[in-house]
Amino acid sequence: MKTIIFKTASAYLLPLLLLFSVFILLRGHYLPGGGFVGGLMAAIAFVIHSFANGIDKTKNIIKFHPGFLMPVGLLLALTAGSLPLAFGDTFMTGLWMKQSVPVIGSVGTALFFDTGVYLVVIGVTLTIIFTISEGL
């Protein structure tokens, strides 16, 4: 699928979709969205780019092996989940900052947990897709 229209569009779609995935990530918690869907969308952004420009070019953009995102995300989620233990609360209790941050809204451990999920999903999806396309 190396049409010029697709190739041109993909150059614009990549940043747009990535931005949108972050929006979906932050929108979660009370509204539909969250880390899992956001992560899938971010992965789709890269997949579209690889369809248009070839897998090697996409790998050049990412620079590191996407599998690396898995432990990073897991560690982030695990830390967010275990942090309340340090304050004498139970595992996975939501801790929230008193003041809300502009644009993002109120920040709590749930956001970091979701970001962890977001990274894990990107890592897993891209690893699978890159591995399969290498075998082709």
Partner: protein, 502 residues
């Protein structure tokens, strides 16, 4: 009593897995982290058991959501003991893996997945929420599927397909049962369900749900007639993986059966009768299956089934003493079965085959090592001071008390079958004069291994053998522990109080 730290055995395993993933390409570092991590996990679970023994049942509400709305983690003596056994088996398998797992498998993430599997097992033992139990079961299946297929040999894939198909089917049945239960009572918390199910008027539906749970867990714990996936798959992966599978995977099913059928569904006469019949036939078919096998690991696979029958028998007799027997047998069986699969792996490293017909003369070549291997083998048979004896003693005592003659007959038959099989195996592998076996090229034989690897393999077998001996000679202590567990299971009021805080 509320205690936020009881979930630590689970979190810690995840942490170890994450650290292992960060050192993906550094194989020696991974081995080191895995062993140290397993040691710390053992310490944590030991502390948990001591705490529970001292202060009674501990509960934790995840996220601070009060039961029955949030997910509860409960550590009673039964859970804490099993978490400890999981940690012991995990440590042994981790050390054994250092010696026996090939680098190619480590490259595909063997160690992180091993720790995720142990995390799933600990989580399943600790959770107090039936849906959460399902989630842990899924984690166990997914990690075991990866472990089963890593390496991608043809036999492995074939075994894995049978394994996964049956286990996914079991999960679907389990999930359906949960859905019906939720529809009936509107609750998923096991302590809450204990109260709610007793009050449901539609007894027919409750019984049907109970049978669904029995089938779901029955497939997972490989009872008659749903066991055939087990001997078809357990002999295919490397011995370290068979060891953790053989020791723990089916036992989670037994744990779930014991928990669900004492806490949520109190079996009526019909259900105990069904369970008893299943137990007897499991003992019989497992024993007979093992009798005709030639591959050592297949023999042990069938013996797993046979001995699952003993534990199920405890549930079938359904008295405190019989359940104590089942718990004691569970404790003994986890240690011994893990060990036996490692023993078969070590013999394979020496000889390059699992076939009893080809093997022989092991005693002459390695007298000391053979004596070490005799400990788990004869513990399994249950020659009096060794660990297998005490569980069966309690079971038979329970069967006599409820004058269940048929059950006694089957338990004794199962013991004789085990004795005969182990004697046959001992004669074939250790005493018989063995022919010189052709050296295979693709196997790295024991004498070619580095000294550290040799020590790791023998050390882990010795470690579990010492624990088996400890269970046998310290039977009084374990028996007291199993009696406490059985009493807690038969009278779930303290459990319910600890969870719901009434």
């Amino acid at each position: 009593m509320s205690n936020p730290y009881i979930v630590l055995p689970v979190i810690f395993q995840l942490f170890v897995a994450v650290v292992l993933m960060f050192s993906w390409n550094r194989k020696n570092l991974q081995k080191l982290i895995s062993v140290i991590g397993s040691l710390i996990a053992l310490l944590i679970s030991l502390l948990l058991l001591l705490k529970v023994n001292q202060d009674g049942i501990q509960a934790m509400q995840a996220g601070g959501w009060v039961a029955p709305f949030g997910i509860t983690f409960v550590a009673d003596t039964f859970s804490a003991l099993l978490v400890l056994l999981t940690a012991i088996a995990g440590l042994a398998v981790s050390v054994f893996s250092v010696g026996s797992i090939r680098n190619a498998r480590i490259k595909f993430g063997y160690f992180p997945i091993l720790h995720l599997l142990i995390m799933g097992l600990s989580g399943a033992f600790l959770t107090g929420d039936i849906f959460n139990l399902y989630v842990w079961f899924e984690i166990i299946i997914i990690s075991s599927f990866v472990l089963l297929t890593i390496g991608g040999e043809k036999a492995q894939i074939e075994g894995a397909i049978k394994y996964v198909t049956m286990n996914l089917l079991a999960s679907v049945i389990f999930l359906t049962a949960i859905a019906i239960l939720y529809g009936l009572t509107g609750s998923l918390n096991m302590a809450d369900l204990s109260i709610q199910v007793a009050a449901v008027e539609n007894r027919g539906l409750v019984n049907v749900t109970a049978i669904l749970f029995l089938i779901g867990f029955g497939i997972k714990s490989a009872v008659f007639p749903l066991y055939f996936w087990l001997p078809a798959s357990y002999h295919t992966p490397p011995p370290a993986i068979s060891a953790i599978f053989g020791g723990l995977l089916t036992k989670v099913g037994v744990y779930a059966l014991l928990r669900v059928f004492t806490l949520i569904f109190i079996p009526d006469e019909f259900l105990t009768w069904v369970i008893s019949i299943m137990a007897m036939l499991t003992i019989l078919t497992g024993g007979l299956g093992a009798l005709i096998q030639n591959n050592m690991r297949k023999v042990f696979s069938y013996l797993i089934i046979c001995h699952i029958g003993f534990m199920l028998a405890g549930l079938g007799i359904y008295s405190a003493i019989a359940i104590a027997g089942a718990v004691f047998y569970l404790v003994h069986d986890i240690m011994v079965k893990t060990n036996l699969f490692m023993v078969s792996g070590l013999i394979f490293k020496f000889k390059g085959t699992y076939s009893m017909r080809l093997l022989g003369g092991f005693y002459k070549e390695q007298p000391l090592l053979s004596l070490l291997m005799a400990i788990p083998l004869f513990s399994l048979v249950g020659i009096p001071p060794l660990s297998g004896f005490w569980g069966k003693l309690l079971l038979i005592k329970g069967a006599i008390a409820s004058s269940n003659i048929l059950m006694i007959a089957f338990i004794i038959l199962g013991s004789f079958l085990t004795l005969f099989i182990i004697a046959k195996l001992w004669a074939a592998v250790f005493w018989k004069d063995g022919a010189e076996l052709p050296r295979k090229k693709h196997i790295k034989y024991f004498e070619e291994l580095k000294p550290l690897k040799k020590k790791a393999m023998i050390g882990s077998i010795a470690f579990l053998s010492v624990i088996s001996l400890g269970i046998g000679f310290g039977a009084e202590w374990i028996m007291r522990l199993s009696m406490t567990i059985a009493e807690n299971l038969m009278d779930p009021t303290p459990y319910i109080q600890a969870v719901l805080g009434i």
